[in-house]
């Protein structure tokens, strides 16, 4: 890690007069094992590394990257980034992040034990998960069981005084299931994740994978109408991710947010408080620094239904006059930073999912959604997604249903939140899930 920081600061130090340079350097070691019918189907092990260099001069930005850290390759990347500068349009707000005095909240993201874990143990974990899943329900087949781990190190340094580095480990165990139902086969999945396999709960992953595949056996297409939906935590986490994308300072500046100009207004039901907090160690995406090297921090975006703020990158903060919020995102060394939420969660309520369902007269418990990327437009707010789950009648879970859509608009759904459950779950995505009751949603089926 120290060698990466040294490399990054060395490059940033080459900035000439009137020039800013940022170097982002990353290195990762990955292992992936797939097991099928008790045998290893494939085993991948690899090390990758790379660098992305951003140069700013006279309000113009140039960028280049390469998947190598050898000195000749790095020199070429810097030369290319400098050459690219000349073709940008001058922007008085263009620039790199500058240290803003906010201290890092130290996180425990690295597990030394992962480095010495024998390969055979990794294979055994995947085989064992396959076995547990098959044992959980005789109607279930397994089409793959996967183990994966990664150890990643990165550093970012700028000529404006940023010099930070971080490292983390992650381990993932997952299984994909099938259950035959006449001509149709239903699918399920289960997973357990952590900083190392010590955090795994394979029994739960196996149980959930079997349940997901079998709970749709005999499912039919429901009729069309307005219903109350209860979103399962796994679904609400994805919904929150989309809401987060609309509370983005860059989208606001560029006229792409439905919430532009609405800070201080009621945008959601009063029971809804939305927080972005990568300093929370429970969050899967917990991190010490954002994509530009600033300390991450806790930001309350919606408080009791009232919009409080947008998340900002250094660029959007500078241009809008807002304070930096430490929300630069980065998809690796091949891209420049963007702006976005890093670890979203709703402040949970107190009741269980069963208690929420008991209050619903006519509705549907949505356990899976399909096509959020194609049926939701965060700019217009139109929301439409394929779904499957269980009908709710008179407060009781009833028959399984599939091949229908639920639709509304993002603006309306936030206002229509009836209750937030107490069952918060920290899922492997950038938002936590919690059971969420939303009324007046159109269910479209037969």
């Amino acid at each position: 890690m120290e060698d990466l920081l040294e490399l990054a600061t060395g490059i940033a130090g080459q900035a000439g007069k009137g020039e800013q340079i940022e170097a982002f350097v990353a290195r990762a070691n990955d292992t992936a094992v797939r097991v099928y019918e008790g045998e290893v189907e494939h085993f991948t092990s690899a090390q990758s590394e790379g660098i992305g260099i951003r140069v700013v001069k006279d309000g113009r930005v140039g960028f280049a990257y390469a998947g190598t850290l050898d000195p000749a390759g790095v020199d070429e990347v810097l030369a290319e980034a400098r050459d690219n500068v000349g073709f940008g349009t001058p922007d008085e707000w263009a620039g790199l992040a500058e240290p803003d005095g906010v201290a890092l909240v130290e996180q425990d993201l690295w597990r030394e034990e992962l480095l010495s874990l024998p390969t055979a143990d990794k294979i055994t974990l995947a085989k064992e998960l396959e076995r547990l899943t098959l044992a959980a329900d005789s109607r279930v087949r397994v089409d793959e069981a996967d183990y994966a781990d990664v150890r990643a190190e990165g550093a970012v340094a700028t000529s404006t005084g940023i010099a930070t580095a971080g490292r983390e480990t992650g381990a993932y165990l997952s299984v994909s299931t099938l259950a035959d139902d006449g001509d149709v086969t239903h699918t399920g999945f289960g997973f357990t994740v952590g900083r190392s396999p010590a955090d795994f709960d394979p029994e739960r992953a196996a149980r959930e994978a079997a349940e997901r595949a079998t709970r749709l056996l005999g499912a039919t297409k429901p009729s069309t109408g307005k219903v109350t939906v209860v979103l399962d935590p796994f679904v609400s986490a994805q919904f929150l991710g989309i809401i987060g994308s609309t509370l983005n300072g860059e989208a606001v500046l560029k006229g792409r947010s439905i919430f532009a100009g609405r800070v201080g207004e009621d945008v959601a039901a009063t029971n809804l408080t939305l927080i972005d907090d990568p300093t929370n160690p429970l969050a899967y995406t917990a991190s010490e620094i954002d994509g530009e090297g600033l300390a991450t921090r806790r930001n309350v975006l919606i408080d009791g239904g009232v919009l409080q703020m947008f998340v900002e990158s250094s660029y959007s903060a500078r241009r809008s006059g807002a304070a930096p919020t430490g929300n630069a995102t980065r998809g690796g060394f091949k891209t420049t930073p963007g702006c976005g939420c890093l670890a979203l969660s709703l402040v949970p309520g107190t009741r269980s999912q069963a208690e929420l369902v008991a209050d619903v007269d006519e509705g549907v418990l949505v356990q899976m959604v399909q096509g959020l990327h194609s049926g939701v437009n965060p700019v217009s707010g139109d929301f439409s997604t394929g779904a499957s789950g269980l009908m709710i009648r008179g407060g009781q879970l009833a028959e399984p249903v599939r091949e229908f859509t639920i639709a509304s608009t993002l603006q309306k759904m936030l206002k229509d939140v009836v209750e937030v459950g107490g069952d918060i779950e920290w899922l492997p995505m950038s938002a936590a899930g919690v059971s969420l009751v939303i009324r007046d949603v159109t269910m479209s089926g037969a």
Partner: protein, 467 residues
């Protein structure tokens, strides 16, 4: 040119190292990709980017087990280390093989590149963005935001394996896309157009970015007047060249031999059966010159080809990669693809499309009393096991009394693959390919094309909010 990437003697030694632990197959895949891109947003060229991805992946197969390792170090030492790692990873199971002498495959370039994009200055690429931005904004004061992107890449690959295959390919791709936001009393709406081909900068002699910009702007402006989309089941007419993704999702993925082999496809065991309406013939064709999914060789060194998957409604073949074909004792179909040298190849589509029927497109609309007309589809997703799929309609209209009337707001359509194939009841004679796509599977994205004539599906579920 392949000789520049890596020396043939080195390839031989690396393949041998892969077999050292008793494996029966080893493979070297070398990639050198240079890309450049530029993006404009908010009236400014935000940045120009240059990228270089270069490395090799070594695959070793022993019994049912595949070992894989990759490296960015293309020296002989780096490659041998990766081969050792892959061999160790695969070292369970039996076997043992010797390398067959390498035979270089003849060059197979399916797309002619007239003007390699790396011979064009960055200023000319940026100029395209500025022209498109201006054209979109000129469409009217309601256009409030424009973003546009240009991208090109030149990827050279070399694949060699212990069966004696030695093939190389050069794949050039050039892409342009534009996204427009319009604002009105009803809120914000978006319009989108993209263009991508496996050719060079001559793309812009054949297509006008200003015209694309005006179309994207018009789409956003039109949608400002959109009514809520209907809900429930209705007949759907899909404009030519906009609905190939329907077939990509509704049946393409289900015809991939890896999914079929694990019983994870609704099309398993249905070879020779009538799976679609009799007028439907579905093709996957990696040789389609200039199209986004065109390749000379696939990423396992097999020559690309045209494969008939459904002939007159009857299932005639699946798509295959090396491993699945070997297991079934048949030839691969040129569908073994991977995102990069960091990824294992698997069965993937190339250009997937439905051939022309006999109906006049206007007659298809006229024959529809009440339904939805889709002028542009967004992305989609399928569950191959159940066949249930969704896809987004990004530009759509109502059909009332046989005429296209009001625009409707965005939403998903949902259907079941096998059912939809049977429910196609009218098929036009106006075939066109659609916009370039990126197909995602098991975490890997590869470029794909799709196409179809104007057609009607008897009933699909529209995911709107109106009664």
């Amino acid at each position: 040119m392949a000789d520049e990437m890596i020396d043939q003697d080195v390839v031989q030694r690396v393949l041998a190292a892969g077999l050292r632990t008793g494996a029966e197959f080893s493979e070297v895949y070398v990639e050198d990709k240079r890309s450049s891109s530029a993006n404009l947003d908010d009236g400014r060229v935000e940045q120009v980017t240059s990228g270089r991805d270069r490395g090799a992946g070594i695959r070793v197969v022993r019994g049912e087990t595949t070992g894989y390792a990759h490296t960015a170090d293309l020296s002989e030492a780096g490659l041998l280390a990766a081969a050792e790692a892959a061999a160790a990873a695969a070292s369970q199971g039996g076997g043992g093989a010797r390398i067959v002498a390498l035979t270089r495959q003849p060059a197979h370039r399916v797309s002619d590149v007239a003007i390699p994009p790396d011979t064009i200055g960055k200023a000319a690429k940026v100029q395209l963005l500025l022209r498109a931005d201006e054209a979109a904004r000129d469409a009217g004061p309601a256009v409030v935001q424009v973003s546009a992107g240009y991208g090109d890449s030149r990827k050279r690959i070399l694949v060699a394996n212990s069966d004696g295959v030695l093939a190389d390919d050069e794949q050039v791709r050039t892409l342009f896309r534009i996204s427009v936001v319009a604002s009105g009393d009803t809120g914000l709406q978006t319009g989108y157009e993209s263009l991508g081909h496996t050719i060079g900068f001559e793309l812009f002699d054949q297509h006008d970015v200003e015209e694309m910009a005006r179309r994207a702007a018009q789409q956003a402006l039109t949608k400002l007047n959109a009514r809520p989309a209907p809900s429930g089941s209705l007949p759907v007419v899909i404009q030519r060249g906009s609905g190939g993704v329907l077939f990509h999702e509704a049946c393409g993925h289900g015809l991939e031999a890896d999914l079929v082999g694990k019983g994870a496809s609704v099309f398993k065991g249905r070879m020779g059966e009538q799976v679609a309406a009799p007028m439907v013939t579905l093709i996957d064709d990696g040789t389609m010159a200039g199209e986004w999914g065109a390749i000379g060789y696939d990423d396992e060194g097999h020559v690309s080809q045209r494969n008939v998957l459904i002939q007159d409604g009857v299932l005639t073949d699946y798509m295959w990669d090396f491993l699945r074909a070997r297991k079934d004792g048949r030839a691969p179909s040129g569908n073994g693809r991977r995102q990069s040298y960091m990824h294992l190849p698997m069965v993937r589509m190339t250009n997937t499309f439905v051939l022309d029927g006999t109906d006049e497109p206007d007659d298809i609309v006229r024959a529809t009393d009440h339904g939805v007309y889709i002028a542009q589809l967004g992305g989609g997703q399928v569950n191959t096991a159940s066949g249930d799929f969704v896809f987004g309609m990004t530009e759509a209209y109502l059909i009332e009394n046989g005429e296209i009337t009001d625009p409707i707001r965005e939403g998903n359509l949902i259907g079941n693959g096998p059912q939809v194939l049977k429910d196609i009841d009218l098929l036009g004679n106006d075939f066109a390919m659609g916009m370039p796509g990126t197909c995602g599977k098991d975490g890997q994205g590869v470029p794909v094309g799709d196409g179809q004539p104007t057609l009607r599906v008897k009933a699909l579920t529209i995911g709107g909010t109106a009664a």
